[in-house]
Amino acid sequence: MLHLNNNASKIKREILIRLTKLQLEGKLEEGAHYIPREMAPRGSEPFRCCIYHDREILRQRVIARLGWGLEDYDDDKKLADYAKEALEREAPTWPMLTVLDEACNACVKTQFVVTDACQACLARPCMLNCNKKAIEIKKSRAVIDKDLCNNCGLCMTNCPYNAIIKIPVPCEEACPVGAITKDENGKEVIDYHKCTFCGNCMRACPFGAMMDKSQLVDVIKHMMNGKKIHAMYAPAVAAQFRSAPGQLEGALMAAGFEKVWEVAQGADITAEKEAHEFEERMEEGAKMMTTSCCPAYVRAVKRHVPALESCISDTKSPMHYTAELVKKEAPDCVSVFIGPCLAKRREGMDDPYVDYVLSIEEIGALFVAKNIELEKQEIMHKENNPSPTGRNFAITGGVAEAVKVRLKQPEKLKAAVINGLSKAGMKQLENYGKINSGEIPATEDTPNLIEVMSCEGGCIAGPSVITNPKVAAIQLKKYLGQ
């Protein structure tokens, strides 16, 4: 898997920081125009063919970072106009993910390539094992006919010289539900009906061509207009920065939020309700129940594994319950969820209590633009201290554990965890779906509570995190004990 801190992600974050600085200075419209030139100055080493191509792609990245999609990209429209319209926008726009055509490498379709290591051997297992007769030996080298090849990979596994390699299409490979395919020009297109907004493609694309549409412009606009903005931070956010207890609250207040809420408070409510619901469903004779706090998972089931849909708990997510508390206390405020997740942006769109969803990258950019050092912040006293199990929702296994400790008879629980909805994870889901529908019999080992995390490792490994998940896991432990 691609390293989460790579050049492509650094460029995306740098653009966010620049835009945020400009907006805070009141110069967003006039300044946005210069970002591509400043980031790819004359005489600099280009990433692509030339700095002009780099600048054009930077221009498109700026547009996505202003919260617009690139699907109806207009060559002639000035960045200043995109900025102006972003400042006039009432609400975030659908969908949350956009493809930068220009940045997309249009990775080769045929995924198997014969390298120089080919010896054109006598045995020729590549040829003999190819069901499609797609391989010929020409000029002392095996050659794959692209039109006949069906990418089965048998030639690669059978070559004694390891001469045949697989060139993957990283985004398609990362997408667990087959929502990404190529158009007639070889560029990638997302089927938003199939997409679960898990963010895997965004993380996997080495060209940074899959981008989430930022909502930071909108939030800062409200701040600058004097609206009261309440921040709700997910437990995974607390694991991102090095700081003492209460300093994250201090930093968010310094960034301009009116009040700061821990989403772990909502996680406690979710866990409590989920435990009740589990007991009820088991009494009613249900085979199994699954958790529901991961929105990418819920969407994956609704769109792709209908046989399991009845098992998803009706309990709402920690974001929802936290936002409900916020809006009860301050009905006129703007509520902003901050988390590591792309699918939460989708969930936020449907939730009446959530106005905006920011990513960790975005909140990080806001801190940098305002020169806010976490470790130098005032320590804020916390009004509510959520339980450690509520805070532990951010890591795989945390949700199931939080439910378990709240059960009257925890010994009746048989929990299983699907750690990451990769293609293999989707297969596991389908399997549980078949058990639920009776297609496959349940066995002794069939679990009755299934926790599903779309991201392997849990939310601390979400698509917009900035901190290595191993480091984040250590920091999360410290946060649990606060």
């Binding site: 390293h3 989460l4 801190n5 992600s9 650094k10 974050r13 740098e14 920081i17 991102q240 920065f241 090095r242 990258e361 990080g364 950019a365 801190f367 940098v368 806010i372 050092e373 976490l374 470790e375 130098k376 900035i466 901190t467 290595n468 191993k470 480091v471 984040a472």
Partner: protein, 87 residues
């Protein structure tokens, strides 16, 4: 054996630009370098190297008194190897 002190800036800008990866240093020392230096690793609060146009060079790491810009885990290990092997 040489004493080497690696100070990783954990200021906000450095963290946003990927400093957390370098926090994995202790567990990432390659075998051929193990036991060949007295290595001390610390996370330090903002080194204040990221003033305005220098921000693009984050993350920053201090190795003894030498400042490493655009630091990566591999880059730090490389710098350690240079120090260990220069004699």
């Amino acid at each position: 054996m040489k004493n080497i002190r690696v100070s990783i800036c954990t200021g906000t800008a450095c963290f946003v630009m990927g400093a957390s990866e370098i926090m994995m240093l202790e567990d990432s020392i390659p075998e051929d370098l193990q036991g060949r230096m007295n290595l001390e690793i610390e996370g330090v609060s903002c080194l204040e190297k990221c003033t305005n146009h220098n921000r693009q060079k984050a993350p920053f790491v201090l190795i003894n008194d030498n400042l490493l810009e655009n630091a990566t885990l591999a880059g730090v290990i490389d710098a350690l190897r240079t120090i260990v092997e220069e004699e």
